[in-house]
Symmetry: C2
Subunit: 305 residues, 2 copies
């Protein structure tokens, strides 16, 4: 059994490679929900959907989020009214949000709804929201604290961030199978996701960080930082802005208490010793998942470790 | 100034004829909201939307509801999950529900949101929800009380109804301009809508029936019953099931306290005397709005009365 701590796009691609090399039903993804939002009355879970759509080969390959073959009729009508257009809701994608909102209103948990959605896409792996409780990643900017999607999508993450806070974290309980999925796993993998706004909110749920630390010797992390930069998103900027080093060494420092191996890219080969000095063993390989062969090879490397 | 008491499809067609013969800004429609529902988190106002879309020539002419050129991608995704499919939400139409839900969550009233939507479709008439308060038409069936849309759409109005109740009516206040729109009108028109589930919930809002009765001499009703049947929908069945006569005479009996004239169709010519005997003056003309010429002629007749 393999358990992956997962954010959105990067983690989804890693997971997609993983199910090429191990059976679906051996994999559990524990997914960040700090990016969730209620938009125009609908409960949107961007990371959960990115993982599901990617694993189902239904993701839009250009955008990296949302569904392939998407249309935008609802957004066009919303635009006629001058309604909020900063967060694009595709017509196909809307069906997922309508279903999730409907089931949550019926009293289902996010864990239950997510399992239903994942199954409907023909996937046998477990996708677990890290918590069923409300948890919202908030970022402090010069003009005040804003929710993560306003920062990430609304402002295209182009403003400096001085702090990150997880609203609701004190009352958040891990989802029903989350702790066991960590504790019972033969291998725990921290996916190549943003350490501060994808992996941290997940670890911050009371009990999760402890559980991961306890299985540290079975845990391996994949660096989302390659040559000092993030492939996508603001991970590098956020690391710098929040006082970390935006290199694999900075990532090593964050993950050393949690994992015994850090997978870093070939381009960071010369930083391997510095990584080791942080107390985590570097494993150097090609981590840029350009195509199915490379992503499967990366998954194979991590699994066989 | 002309004020029209309005349900959905029949009233919308009548209003469409009306704005062919008088200026938009002379017309106010007071619209039923007893059919409203919250579906998958979205606030749906079927009668308001039917009126707006019809007046904007954007209604689907085949179905008589929803938008022309509609697509159904969201419903297809929802169907993948086995989500509720009994109430069809078109992709274009969804933009309206998203906007309405968004603005209501921001604290706008339904009156305000409706005005924004109507304006966005290039219409200058006033479309007023009869109330901004929650009001839900409930019908009693052999298997219990259900909301109106479950009866009308879910069960295709194919079950007998033993009672109609307007949930929330005691606390419902007329929308801010509703009473004045009745009192100040030179002509009040009861549109050819279902008397029991479109016009009644509107009149039942405290103050509205009184206001209409006070301007009775300026009020004219158009019969939705033609030759003993409704053109569309269950008005005839409901009249019978709830102890009324499903003829223009039955309609006359309901509307005599509210209006001095009842417009009936040519096919009901021989019932004119029986209508008059109920205390309301019959006006016989072609009321089947087959085409723009006939609907404009009907509007002209009612306005010139």
């Amino acid at each position: 059994m393999i358990t992956v701590l997962s954010g959105g796009v990067g983690a989804a691609r890693f997971l997609r490679g993983l199910i090429d090399v191990v059976r679906h039903d051996q994999v559990t993804a524990i997914v960040n929900v700090g990016d969730d939002l209620v938009l125009n009355g609908l409960h949107v879970s961007p990371d959960l959907d990115t993982v599901t759509y990617t694993l189902a080969d239904a993701i839009d390959p250009e955008r990296g989020w949302g569904l392939d073959g998407e249309t935008w009729q609802a957004m066009e009508t919303l635009g006629r009214y001058g309604g909020p257009s900063w967060f694009s809701l595709g017509d196909r994608d809307l069906g997922t949000h309508l279903y999730r909102t409907h089931r949550l209103a019926e009293g289902a948990t996010l864990t239950e709804v997510t399992a239903e959605i994942v199954r409907a896409w023909g996937l046998d792996l477990r996708v677990l929201p890290v918590t069923d409780d409300p948890l919202r990643t908030m970022v402090s900017t010069a003009s005040g604290e804003i929710d993560f999607q306003t920062y990430f999508v609304g402002l295209q993450h182009q403003v400096p961030v001085s702090a990150v806070r997880f609203d609701g974290i004190d009352d958040a309980r891990p989802g029903p199978k989350v702790i066991a999925a960590v504790t019972d796993a033969e291998r725990v993998i921290i996916a190549p996701s943003n350490p501060l706004v994808s992996i941290d909110p997940l670890l911050a749920v009371p009990g999760v960080r402890d559980a991961v630390e306890k299985v540290r010797t079975r845990c391996v992390a994949v660096s989302p930082i390659i040559g000092g930069a993030a492939l996508k998103g603001p991970a590098d900027r956020l690391l710098r802005e929040l006082g970390h080093e935006s290199t694999v060494v900075g990532v090593a420092r964050l993950y050393a208490p949690l994992a015994t191996t850090l997978v870093i890219d070939d381009v960071d080969r010369e930083l391997a010793d510095a990584v080791r000095a942080e107390g985590i063993e570097p494993l150097v390989t090609d981590t840029v998942m350009r195509d199915p062969t490379i992503r499967a090879a990366l998954a194979r490397t991590v699994v066989d470790l």
